[in-house]
């Protein structure tokens, strides 16, 4: 046995497989605590990488293991091959970088997910039904300004304003209301009814403030958007018609439900035909070629 051979034959071939094996074992341990699928995945990883590791070891030393009397050149060649791929220092550097990267990812990804993912799954987008009181409070053919807290737990920050008009009955004899949300569909400022407000007739019905107003149009103070009595844009920068509420009538009370966006309204009052879309942000087109710029509905608006 030459000096060279003795130096080389006990050196295990550098290999990345043990790292994968270790990840698999870690995954098994975590899986034992929290979930069966993780356990299975960990077992598969550990088995695959363990097999590859053992196979590499078998390949690296077949000559020394099987035939001690074989030509002395064989192990040296094996060592040279391995050295060409990855030497010990490079392997250790790569392993350190890799493990640090794994630890870094393990810390960063959950935090990033916590910070960003809620916005993409629609957390905090749920709407609450609001009871506006008996429909007899809404005189036919006149707009009422209804101010309410959408979520009383959140306090003033959830104060919203709706413009409600009783349209009487449809041809089918069903009660009809126009329920418009005051948020301007240009950039979200509060739209105001253009007409005298009857402060004397102010009512307070279970936390909702009702004010009659003689309005045939709505205007936005921020950038001059102007809407007609059905909420269609008549002037200024808005890109669609004013958003509306779904509504229902329960025990004679008017209940405001989910918000939806409106492309355009044909006709007036009880006979109007409303092009209804999922709730969209102000300034976002819901119809026409420009709507292609917003292919994905806002999370939480569709559910």
């Amino acid at each position: 046995m030459s000096e060279e051979e003795r130096d080389t034959q006990h050196l295990p071939a550098p290999s990345l497989w043990p790292i994968g094996f270790a990840v698999g074992v870690a995954c098994i341990l975590v899986g034992l605590v929290i979930s069966v699928p993780a356990l299975i995945v960990g077992a598969v990883i550990a088995l695959v990488f363990g097999f590859l590791w053992v196979r590499d070891l078998m390949r690296a030393h077949p000559v020394t293991a099987a035939a001690p009397g074989a030509p002395a050149a064989a192990p040296v060649v094996t060592h040279a091959d391995v050295g060409d791929n990855v030497d010990r220092a490079t392997f250790l550097s790569l392993a350190t970088i890799g493990v640090s990267g794994l630890i870094g990812a393990g810390v960063t990804l959950p935090v990033l997910g916590f910070g960003v993912l809620p916005s993409f799954v629609g957390d905090g987008v749920e709407t609450h039904d609001v009871d506006l009181g008996p429909i007899t409070n809404f005189p036919e053919g006149q707009y009422m300004i209804a101010t309410y807290l959408e979520n009383p737990e959140q306090g003033e920050v959830s104060r919203r304003t709706a413009f409600i008009r009783n349209n009487g009955s449809t041809d089918a004899g069903v009660p009809s209301f126009t329920a418009i949300f005051s948020r301007c569909v240009h950039l979200g400022c509060p739209v105001q009814p253009n007409g005298p407000i009857d402060e004397q007739a102010k009512q307070e019905v279970n936390g909702v403030e009702l004010l009659p107003v003689l309005a045939a149009s709505f205007g936005c103070p921020c950038h001059g958007g102007l809407y007609d009595s059905e909420g269609n844009r008549s002037a200024g920068p808005p890109v669609r018609s004013l958003d509306r509420y779904e509504f229902s009538i329960k025990d004679g009370n008017l209940i405001l439900g989910r918000l939806f966006s409106v492309g355009h309204v044909e006709g007036v009052g009880a006979t109007a035909r409303i092009q209804k879309y999922y709730m969209a942000y102000p300034g976002v087109h819901v119809d026409g070629i420009e709507s292609w710029l917003y292919p994905i509905p806002t999370p939480g608006s569709t559910g």
Partner: protein
């Protein structure tokens, strides 16, 4: 003679602590090396706009730290806490005023600094990367302004932020998601204010400090560029100046071949 010796003695006593630090850290030497660098002989006051912007940022950071001790970032208490800082806290009006007006000063100085770099051609090779870092600093500074504007939680800041967020929402493809990230829902809600506060006092200042570090590293490494009218460029005499000509913009053939 005795007076000189006494003076020397005093100087040694005064410098002893600095020598102690220098011997153990080398920090005094590094600081001198950082502060007393060679610059072109014909630089002007306009080259100090970057330092001015840095000073404005330091003022913002310092006053911001102390405002944060009294500010309450939730919808119920925010407005009242701002009122209390302005009316009740000793010198609170001054610190808040410095932070409020300093914000505009910071942005304005960054623009002047950028104009100087542009007009002097200081963005050219090898300083392109520093221009890019400067643009990132400008964007981060503007984001600081946007997030800070909401914090007083009065009607101006509320509706300005509504409009600002909805402008973000009109961005193609990602706009609605960006708006939803910023306000945590379909409209400004109770989560919006703490989120803006965290961005304003942790995320963005951290980014700005890191970017300033890189920006200054490149300034030290690459040196200050000469003004366009300089007779010496990058520490060397211009060829046309060497040939005894007036120089700027004049074509030279001898200079180039030399």
């Amino acid at each position: 003679m005795a007076a000189t010796a006494r003076r020397q003695q005093l100087q040694d006593v005064a410098l002893a602590p600095l020598d102690w630090v220098e011997e153990r850290s080398g920090l005094v030497g590094y600081t001198k090396w950082f502060l007393f660098r060679k610059v072109p002989r014909d630089i002007t006051w306009s080259q100090t706009l970057g330092s001015a912007a840095l000073t404005a940022f330091i003022v913002q950071a310092t006053t911001g730290v102390f405002l944060a001790m009294f500010y309450k970032p939730d919808p119920v208490n925010a407005y009242a806490s701002i009122q209390s800082i302005t009316e009740d806290v000793t010198l609170g009006w001054l610190v808040r005023g410095m932070h409020k007006w300093g914000a505009s000063v910071f942005i304005i100085l960054m623009f002047f600094h950028m104009a100087r770099a542009f007009l002097f051609g200081a963005y050219k090779y090898p300083r392109e990367l520093n221009w890019i870092l400067g643009v990132l600093l400008l964007v981060s500074g503007m984001a600081e302004g946007f997030t800070g504007y909401l914090l007083p939680w009065d009607n101006t800041s509320y509706w300005a932020t509504v409009v600002g967020i909805n402008i973000n929402a009109t961005g193609p493809f990602v706009g609605p998601f960006l708006a939803q990230f910023l306000q945590g829902g379909l409209s400004i809600g109770p989560d919006t204010l703490p989120k803006f506060y965290a961005l304003h006092m942790l995320v963005l200042p951290g980014a700005i400090m890191a970017l300033i570090g890189l920006h200054l590293y490149l300034v030290v490494r690459l040196g200050v560029s000469s003004p366009p009218w300089s007779r010496s460029a990058a520490g060397r005499e211009r060829p046309e100046a060497a040939a005894g000509r007036d120089g700027v913009g004049e074509p030279t053939t001898e200079g180039e071949s030399a």
